[in-house]
Every structure is written in C-alpha cells, then in structure tokens.
Symmetry: C2
C-alpha cells in the first residue's frame, strides 16, 4: 500500500543470510543462478522507500538449537546425574524468582499509579468544585490538561530519548523474541526501568492506555535478567546460572517471564501459560510448561499478597491481577440459548470495529514513520494527545447531564458531582475521570440504569478515536484496557437497547453481561487472540460460566476481523519488516524446493583455516554472515570438500579475541585451552570484529575449528520441498540449515529470511524482497 520512506526504530547490526554476497566466496560448491532480488539490493540508499513487501536483513535470529560442539559435549559428559538434578532445581528457582519479581513490579506500578491518581483526583476535584458554581471551569480544564500533559511529557521524554524500544506495549517485540528474532535492547534492564516509569506516567497522565500490556514486556525483561545471573548494564556478575547463558535456555525463561507478566496483569496464570505457548513456543515441553505455570502462579500470588497488605487486608487474596473485572455473581450471569446468536452478532461487530481500529492505526503508524520520527516531535505529539484527551473528556463531561444518585451501594471511588444535584454524581465524569480499569469494572457491574445510552454512545465514539490515536505514541502503554473499555461501553449500550426494544425487560435485565461480551469482542477484534484470551477473560471475571460465549465471540471477532485486516500486533510487526515465521509454510508452496529457497553460494571455512581469511570473512561488511559451514578437503585428493560442521560468527569472534591460534612454527605453544565459560562470558553481547586487533603475524597463523564448530548441523537435500524445510526449521528453532547435495557438499544455506520471504497474499504465493532497511 504505502510506499514511503521509513526509519526503523529497532536497529541491528548483522544478518544471517549468506545471500547478499558481493564478497569472495571461498567455496563455490555448485554455482547457482543468482536471484534477481540480489541485484535489486545494489546501490540501495540508506533510507529506502518503505514498502510492505520488504523484509529487513538487519535482524539477527536467536539460535534455539544447541550448539553441540566438543566443548559442550565434554561438559555434559562430565556432569553427573546429580548435576542435572541441580540444574533442574535451579531452573525452578529461577522461575520462582521471575514470578516473584514480576509480581513485585506489577505491585509497584499499581501502588504508584493509585497514589498519583489519587493526588491528581483530589487536586482536580477541589478545583472543579471551587469553580463549578463560580464559573470559570476553563481554568479547571487547563489545570487538568497541564497536569496530564506534564506526566505524559515525562513519560514520552524517557521513552523517546533514552529507550525508544520501550514504547508501546512491547507485546509485538516479545512475540518476535519468542518467534526467534533478536530485537536489539528489548530485554535490557534500562528498557525495563524506562518501561515501568513510562507506563506510570502515561496512565497517570490520563491517556487512553492500560498498564497491562507493558507487564508482559517487563516480565520478559526480568526473566532474561534473572536467568543470566548477571547484569551487563550494571556490570555485575553474580557467577550463578552460568549454564543458562545461551539462547535456548534464555528463550525458555523469557517465555516464563511473559507468562508471569500476563498472570500479574490479569490475575490469569493459566491464561499466561497459554499466551506464552500460543505466541511463542513451537516445541511443547511438559517440564517447561510446568515451570512456566509455576512462575505465573508465583507472580499472581506475589501481587495478590502485597496488594492485600497495601489495602490493609493482609492475607485476603482477592486482587489477583492489576485489573480485576470484579465478581460476576452466579445468578445474574446465567445466559440462555437464544442469547448465543446475539453474542455472535456482537462478536461480528467487535471484529468490524477492531478492523477499523487497526486500519486507522495502520495509517497513523505509516504517517508517524514518515513524519514523526524525531524524538522531540514524538514528545510533542504525546503531549498533544494528552491535552486533547483531557479537553475532550472535559467537554463531554461538561455537556453531559447524566446524573446518577450517589447511593450507599455505589462503587465509584472518585465520583464527581459537577452540575448534578447534591447526592448525585455525573456518570460521564465517572467513565472519563476514573482510571480505565475502574471504568471497565463500573461498566460491568453497575446497576442497570447507571448509564444512559447517549452517554455510552458518545463515550464509545470518543474513546475509540482517542485510543486509536494513542496506540503507537512514544509512551509505554498497552492497548488491552482501552479495547476492553470501548467494548464494554458499546456492549452495555447494546444491552440497554435490547432491553428497551423488547417488551420483556427482565430477560435482558443485566446490561453488565453485554458489557463483558462487548469487551471481549472488541479486544478480540483488535488483537485477534482466541484461546489464551478466552482463558484470560474467564480468569479475570473469576467465573467460567461465560467460557463458551466468550470463546464464540472471540472466534467470530477473529474470523470477521481477519477478513479485513490483520491483528494490531501483526500489523506493527509487519511494519518493522521483521522476518517473522508463522506456524506453517504457506499452503501453496509445495512447488518450491530448498534449491530455490536457499541462499547460495555460501562462504565456507576450512576446518583448519588461516586467521587472516577468517578476519577478512568476518570484516566483509557486504556479506555479514552469521554462520559458516565448515568443510574438509580430503588431503591430496581432488574430491570436492565435504561438510563437517557449522560455526557461528560469535564463536569465531571469541576465538579471535582469545587468540586461539596454531602457530605452525612453534607447534601450538601459544594456544590457550578455551573453555565453554569464555563463550558464556561473552554472551550475548559479542564484540564486533572491528574491535579485535589481529597483527600481520597473527594473520598468518592457522586456527583449528574442530573443537568449537557444531559437528552435526542439520542438513537437507536440495530437492526437499519448502513445507518440509519449514517444518524442520520451525520445529527445532534453527538459525542455519545447510543444504547439501548427495555427496554431502555444501550448496546452500537456508536462514529465517529465506523462509519468511514467502507468504500468501491476495493473489496466491508472494515473495517479499530482502533489504538492508
């Protein structure tokens, strides 16, 4: 669609693909026809036109396949059974810690937001009360708007200037991470700090945002940090959990962290597990799942416990999550068979509104990529949104005359009287002035008649556009709660209208039920999750009765929404040109084989290779390979070289850094025995090749890769069909897959980008272009 210039905010250093080779391939196995896409890359300017059909070459992949080189195998073989038991126990300990810390962070966010919102409410309320009768409410408006903008400004500044990756909910980034893509800086401590402060500012700033989405990102960062037993940012190494310093283990912990985040956000431990699995894991492992579940449980429990102390009811475990939908009483929630078509209709509405939301946000994001990419502009936009939100709310409240009696059973903590009679409160003000979480709860549970239809209609309309504008700003904020709020508002409206058009009002007596269904429909229409979202909603309502309707609604919303446009997270992932691998190869891709898909020719290294050659290969900026097949030539024969291993750029860097050279003259005197520990210490921030100095003498030395390469890389023959290659690649979480001929000679390399390139468009199979965006 849009064909504009794009500045990518997630940046990276290198790419896996061996396909862009202007370099001198050391081994031209069998010369393959170069793909046309390679030509199109030459001479591309730094800022290329943004195009939906591009795939960025900048993202590195994570390696979920263990590098079983000799060092690793020796270590594993030395380890006793007790050693493995200890490892297993430390995995549980780490998961417990992840859950605990994630719960604490959620608790911290919640308490700070509560306190700040309370202060804000007091100040604004006093001010409004002062001016309500005196006239001059515009001063109150200005006060309110300034208040909000100030908070949002702080939130936007730390995000835009210090850590842009902390913007938004972080869910797309975590989805990518779990999919196997290394998004730079996404799991760093700095990101976490900015995220937490940012989300507090944006929620207190009154934006149409939630604090739930960011919890998922926070949990993931906590997990990545705790599991490594050190912090590179703080330069502290606790010398623990060193075994876990590799992609495979780290991924497992990050999925536990994401689950713990969901669990803390919604009080939904099972939903958290399902979220992690639905979004991330391709290989289901029972023990891993249990650990994830454990982390989730600890997380919600921690949050619950500390909040109970904060609320002066220690031991009362009734706030399992940041958002609490309140308890749906069993009698009022019963639904009947003939309501199911209504629910499905609501699902369809949710799907359509969700698609509309996503399309609008898509356009907005394109606009932002094009024009609003400077930090100062981003901060200004965020402040503008905050001011507009405050103004719109204020205007709506001002012109609304929906007064409700302030009964003893009211559950508004922050009622605003405004122009209502004494003992009454303004219900529009309730909807706007409360934190979004509270508003959702009021919409679900307030007595029938608490809101009049006009209030709800106007509220839905304005909030829809505000939320849509807000998502994608340079502030840390989630889209879950605004979606629920929009849905709850129109759902309640739907319920009220039903009651009014039917004579028998008792059946449709409870609009709260429709608010719940509407919330599910709207959220489903925007994010398009089904199974995990069903469970999250069920756990958050604390009642399984609505399982079936919620599931039907979410399914409908997904089907209807998918007809128009993808889910919000997928749109944002696509806009970043991330090589995201879906669950299966595109349906009509059987006519493609590994031969067509692979990158070739491939730069190979010899098992005993000259240091100079290695340095040259690594320094060659035009190729930027990350993995190199290692081949062996039978001495004295003219047979072609055969594949004998695979070595990663990061391993070579460590080898060069430690000068593991064989000096031919001095018979290995210089060679230090390298340990697995050296690789682990360097993980995950391996230095660039430019930072390693190799003298001219050293360039003449040889390097023996035998011990360090993975001697048994997975291979496929070149006739293998794309779905088969895809399945192997995806199921094992590979990073490089070597394509060999029937003589075991390397003829190509398949990486993530080669597979992610193919996708099903409107007109059948389409091929994305690769670009150094």
């Amino acid at each position: 669609m849009a064909n504009i210039t794009k500045k990518v905010s997630w940046s990276s250093r290198a790419d896996e693909s061996g396909a862009t080779g202007e370099g001198t391939p050391l081994l031209n196995g069998s010369e393959q026809p170069r793909h046309s896409r390679q030509d199109s890359l030459r001479g591309r300017p730094k800022e290329i036109p943004h195009n939906e059909k591009l795939l960025s070459l900048k993202f590195e992949s994570l390696d979920y396949d263990n590098i079983e080189n000799q060092l690793f195998l020796e270590e594993e073989r030395r380890m006793s059974y007790m050693g493995f038991r200890c490892l297993e126990i430390s995995r549980w300990v780490v998961c417990g810690l992840i859950g605990f810390l994630t719960g604490l962070i959620a608790c911290f966010i919640d308490i700070v937001v509560e306190e700040l919102a309370g202060i804000k409410y007091q100040v604004v309320k006093q001010n409004i009360e002062k001016f309500t009768e005196a006239g001059g409410l515009s001063i109150s408006l200005i006060l309110w708007a300034v208040f909000n903008s100030a908070f949002v400004m702080v939130g936007a500044i730390i995000v835009a200037y210090f850590e842009p990756i902390a913007a938004g909910s972080g869910i797309p980034q975590i989805k990518c991470y779990l999919n196997g893509i290394k998004i730079p800086r996404v799991v760093r401590l700095k990101t976490l700090v900015v995220k937490v402060c940012g989300v507090i500012c944006s929620v207190v700033g009154g934006l149409a945002v939630g604090k739930e989405g960011p919890m998922i990102h926070s949990g993931a960062v906590v997990a990545a940090g705790v599991s490594q037993g050190r912090s590179t940012s703080l330069k502290r190494d606790f010398k623990i959990f060193e075994y876990f310093r590799r992609d495979t283990e780290k991924r497992d912990f990050v999925s536990a962290g994401a689950a713990a985040g969901v669990s803390a956000a919604f009080g939904a431990p099972v939903g958290g597990v399902l979220f992690s699995l639905e979004e991330g894991a391709s290989f289901w492992n029972q023990m891993l799942t249990w650990r994830i579940f454990f982390a989730s449980m600890i997380s919600t429990f921690t949050l619950n416990f500390f909040l109970s102390i904060y609320h002066n009811k220690p031991g009362d475990l009734s706030s399992p999550g940041l958002i609490n939908f309140g308890r749906f009483e069993s009698d009022s929630v019963a639904y009947n068979l003939y309501e199911i078509p209504l629910f499905i209709a609501m699902g369809a509405i949710g799907g359509i509104l969700g698609a509309l939301f996503n399309v609008l946000n898509y356009w907005l994001t394109i606009f932002r990529i094009r024009y609003v990419h400077r930090p100062c502009l981003q901060v200004m936009e965020a402040m503008l949104v905050a001011a507009v939100t405050a103004t719109v709310s204020f205007t709506m409240i001002y012109f609304s005359n929906d007064c409700q009696p302030l009964g003893p059973e009211h559950n508004e903590e922050y009622p605003l009287q405004l122009f209502c009679a004494d003992g009454e409160y303004n219900s529009m003000a309730t909807a706007f002035f409360n934190t979004p979480e509270r508003s959702v709860r009021s919409l679900f549970h307030n007595q029938p008649g608490s809101y009049n239809p006009l209030t709800l209609g106007l509220f839905t309309l304005t909030y829809f556009f505000l939320a849509c504008w807000t998502y994608g700003l340079a502030v840390s904020a989630g889209v879950f709660i605004p979606s629920l709020l929009i849905g709850a508002a129109w759902g309640r409206l739907f319920g009220i209208l039903l009651a009014s058009i039917t004579s028998n009002a008792t059946i449709w007596a409870d609009p709260g039920k429709y608010a719940l269904i509407g919330a599910a429909a709207q959220l489903g229409g925007i994010v398009r999750m089904t199974l995990s979202l069903t469970v999250i909603m069920v756990e958050a309502t604390g009642n399984v009765t609505y399982g079936l309707p919620i599931m039907l609604v979410l399914m409908t919303a997904k089907i209807v929404g998918d007809y128009f446009v993808e889910g919000l997270y997928d749109i944002h992932i696509k806009l970043q040109s991330v090589p995201f691998l879906h669950w299966e190869a595109p349906a009509t891709s059987h006519w493609l084989t590994a031969r067509e898909v692979m990158s070739s020719p491939v730069t190979c290294l010899n098992r005993i290779e000259k240091v100079g050659t290695i340095v040259d290969v690594l320094s060659n900026t035009s190729t930027n390979h990350n993995g190199f097949p290692v081949v062996v030539q039978v001495a004295g024969s003219d047979e072609p070289a055969k594949l004998c291993g695979l070595i990663l750029r990061s391993q070579l860097i460590v080898l060069l850094k430690h000068k593991v050279f064989v000096e031919l003259a001095r018979s290995r005197l210089n060679q230090r025995k390298l340990q697995l520990k050296d690789f682990r210490d360097a993980y995950p921030r391996f230095p660039p090749i430019q930072s390693i100095h190799v003298s001219q003498d050293e360039r003449e030395c040889m390097m023996d890769l035998t011990e360090f390469m993975n001697p048994t890389p997975y291979t496929v023959p070149q006739e293998t069909s794309l779905p088969r290659v895809f399945k192997l690649f995806r199921a094992l979480g590979l990073r490089h897959l070597v394509v060999v001929d029937d003589q075991n000679r390397v003829i190509g390399l398949v990486t993530r980008k080669d597979l992610a390139r193919y996708h099903l468009g409107k007109h059948g199979l389409e091929e994305l272009q690769l670009a150094h965006t």
Copy 2:
C-alpha cells in the same frame, strides 16, 4: 521387580526396527559391531518372562512426518489456494462433528446411567424398606449384590470376549497413540460400542468407577472414525475427507477427540485442550489448537444442551459436563494465606496415598497378568468385585448409625432411611448408594455436620481398597471419580478435624473446601497430571478462586508421589512394554551417539528393485522391518550406493497388490499409473504380505520405487549425540531416521525403540532390552 510370565493383551503384527536382522541385508554399509541385546533375542520362547526392563518390539509407530513422495507433491502442486481453503474448512467441520458426536455419546451414557440407576434405586429401596422392620435384610443384600453382579457381568463379558482393548479408562492407550504408537484396534468402532455399553454396565453395577475416563477414549474413537469419512468395520465409505487418510492428519483429529472427551466429561473445554497438549502434541500448532478448542467447546455445549432438554429445562446451560462439582459460592470459598501450608500438607498426603494406590494396583496388575488372563476368569473376577462392593457397602450402612435430618434444603436425590427415625436419612448410605458423582457433590457441598468423622474415615478406607481393586478389571471404567471421591472423603474429614481441634470454629467452618482440596490431592497423587488437571478442576468447580491452592496441591502431590512410584497411567504403559518416548532424552545421555543407538546393518532396497527381492524382504519374518532406505548405485562405477529415499512396508504392499511392475521385455505396458487414492484406500489396514500372490514370472519383473519413496528423508551423521537425535525425532514425530556417513551412505536406522530403550533408572542411565513379547 517381578519376573513373571506375561500375556500381552495389546498385540501387534510388526515392528519398525531393523535391528533384529537374521535376514540377509542387501547392503552392509559399514559393518557395525552387533549389540549384545541382539544375541539375547535368539531362541526366545513365545511367552517370555515378564520383566520391567523389556521393551516390546511388537508395536508399530505412527508416522507423523508426511511422506512427501512425487505423488503427494504432484497432488499438492495441483491444488489451488481455494483447495487449501476448502481443506481448512473441512478440518473445522470435522472438529465440529467430533465435538457434537462426543457430546451426544456423553449425553447418551449419562441418561442411560441415570435411568438405570433410578430403577435400581427404586427396587432396592422398596425392598430394603420392606425388610428393615421385618428383619431379613440379608435378602436385600443378596438382591442388591445380584443386581450389581448381573450388570457387571454383562459389562465384563462384552469387554473380555469381544474387545479386551476397551477395558479400563483407555487413557493410557490414548496417551500412547498421541505419543506415536499404534495400539491395535484402539480407535475402532467396535471398541467404541463395547466401551460405551461397558461403562454403563459398570457404573450401574455399582463398582467404584467413573464414566469420565472412558469418555476420553470414546472421543478419540469418534475422531478417528469421523475424520476418515468411512468405517472399515461397517464397510461404508462416504468418499469424503479422503485427504485426511494418513497418520499426520488422523493424529490431529484424535487429539481433538480426546480433548472433546475431557470437555464432555468435566465440562472443561480449556482443560481438554491442555490435556491433549500435555499428553500428546509435541509440535504446537496454533491453528490445530484452535480447532481442538472448537471441538471441545462444541462437545460441552452439545452435552449441556441435550441434558437441559432431558432435565426439562431446555436452554438452561448449567450441566456442562458429566460430572458437575456444583457451584462454590464466592463467599464461602474464600481462603486465607495461613491455610496454604495446610493445603500443601494435604497435597503431600494425597501424594503418599496416591503412591500407595499405585503400588497396590501395580502388584495387582502383575498378579492379573500372571493368573487372570483368561476371559472367563476376568468376568468372574469382575463379578466378585461387584458382589464384594455391594456387601461391604451394605455392611457399612448396616452398622452405621449416622442419621441426618432430611431437611427441605437437602440435595440427596436418593436418601435411604434404613434404621433412622422418620425425616432422617442414613448418611453412610448416601455416600455408598448414590452414583459416585453425586457422592462427590454431596461431600463438597453438604452443610457442615452432614457427615460424622467416623463415617468418613470408614468410607475412605473401604472405598480406597475397592477402587484400587477395581481399576484394571476387565470392565470399561475410569479412575478419576473414585479418586476424587476418596480424596473428598478424607479431605472433608481433615476439615472437620481441623475445626474440632481449633477453638475458633468459624474459620474452618466449611469442610467442603477441604473436600475439594483433598479430591484434587488424591487425584493428582494417582494420575500425576498438573497443568491440565488444575484447569479441569477449576472449570468443573466453576470458580477460579481455587486456582492457586489446587495448583499447589497438585504440584506437591506430584513431587511427593513421584518420589515413590510413577503415575498410574505410566505404570500401566510400562507394564505393556510400550516404547513410549518422553519429552526429552535422559539427562546423562550425551555420551551416546547415533552410531551406538542405531540399528545396523539395515536392509536397503535399490531404486529399481526386483520384485522377488522385495517380496523376500517383506516376507522375512525374522526382520519385520517397516521402513527401508532406498539407495542408488552409480551405474558402472564401484562407488558405494548412496541414500536417495525411504519407502515404507505399507507402500510396498500397495505397490505389490496393484502389480506396479516394469516388465523389462514389454516396456512398461503392464504398469498401471498408481494414484495417491490407492494408498489412501488401503490406509490404515494394509494387508499382510502373505495375502498377496506374486507369481514366479512376476518375481522376475522390476519395480521402480522413484515415484513412491520419500525422496528427502531426514538424516543425521553418525557422530550426532543421542539428545540431538532424540530432539529431531520427537519434535518432528518421525518413524525412521536414517544415519549416514559423510559420503551419504546408509549405515544405520534409528527408530522409536532405539530411543525409548534408554531411560534414567536409580543408578543412572539404563538400557531396556528389546523383545518380541
């Protein structure tokens, strides 16, 4: 432990392993040292001593890897995008049908059991009332015992004589199926019919059994039948869903069926999905999960709908499962922080009691394998158990004097007055005389004081031994409900004791809460499921408040129980010597490589092979291979033959049956073009080689395997470590994995048994023996 003679009730025809080769291997790639285990196989008698350390060679594996031969690829390439869409839609339709039919079956079982139990109750009650005062209650006892025995006899006869595989809950068999092992006759229509009738008989016969476990098996059978669009037993082919006639697709549907079964049994659609995934799927696929979820939802909905009609409350969807734990009201269910240690203690008790149950049942099963393997003995044992159950119950009721007032709020449908005063009922009789489902519900919900501690203690004790004796009888019956009942009884007892030893009785006021926790602990201690069971319990209680305690309890029960002995299902799987693959390779197996693990030498076939040779290879009973690497010799060269494909026994059988021969003289005139349809029609019951007549002339013809073999089988080099081989094998659901050298020559074959052989015992890594049991 036990070293006795064993008769295996699951029998099979062939095995995958190429390791038992007395046959003449056509290609001895590189001669490997033969394993000592092979020697131990020679001259083994038909009935070998039963030994825990054996692995049966009789079980075939399922092939979850698509056989992408030329025929298949041609079909896929011909298919348009719309074709794939239609396939996807029919997958959803099939899942809907599976859910619907599973729900119907559950409904049928429930209604028939209700009706028959009602009749039995009326008759026995009248009889007891007649004799209570007149004396001569022994006549009532005899009437009751005869009643029960008669039902159980019918149930046992159909199981023992017609379909022994229908015995028990079927969960171990479904676990094996989902793990990738073909248990003969497990998903046939006949099995379903026997299962349904059998479970009705055993429940009405008053055994200590539940009807929930068998629902899982029933759902799986329904799925296997519906998805194939035909019934081989009924000889009807509906000519639909032909695309799904292969292991890959069928497995997916069977997991949906199992989930639908769980969903119908417990009203737990999410629990069903998790059950399927926890027990079965190794590769998590989002779309598949959604379909499974859909089937589960439809299943519980169908059951709910039809039961609502049966209960004369059409449209009231309040009975989502066969068992309904009743509604826990929000106020009474609150728990407090200091109760958590108590819950964990209960989990530990559940783990110990569960382990005791499993050990007793293990000994009993060994005894049964040894002495009770004739059908008539099995029927007699079942009748004996039925009579003893009736007698014990009756005696307990007779000597109990726990009379409770029959208030207006009582929820016993079948109160028995016996020797109690008018307006009262005997609470022991309630516990024993009701169906177990009702008893569980009473234990959860009856007012404090409904049961006195002695009643509960005695009930727990007797029911524990009865249930333990009953599981493993030749009747269709599950162990879920008896476990829950035992647990609920001692849990309630625990609650009552707590209330009596503490002064402040109001805190521990509700023993129903402890009954629930006890039920979870006991069930967890026996079956050792955690995540899925947590969700099932939560969904069945309709209240998420107990999520955390139930999870803690189940975890504790699992950890404590695993310390003593495995879970009940795993014990039964092990006793059948099934080559079950766990989630990961044993921890200390890194020192093993593919070379040590693989079977060799391997029988290979040439790409163009003589028919006579193929017939000989297939007929060689001593080898019984199921998969053969296909090799190609470069014409006129003395280079060793290279791997070029893999072909299955079943494919060769179909080829022979259709006489797809190349007659050298007549230039292929005779060769009929074979379609994928021919293979699908033969699936899954391929005829044995003996039934195919090949004339002497035909033996001289050649057969071209190129089109039919899988041209790109997965291979590993011989140095690959066992965990790596295991991961590849398990993640992709392979059946054969070819081990090649660096020249791409076949040197071995890894099958399921080669991997399942290694397991972690008390003294580190152990190797099981392979045997033709």
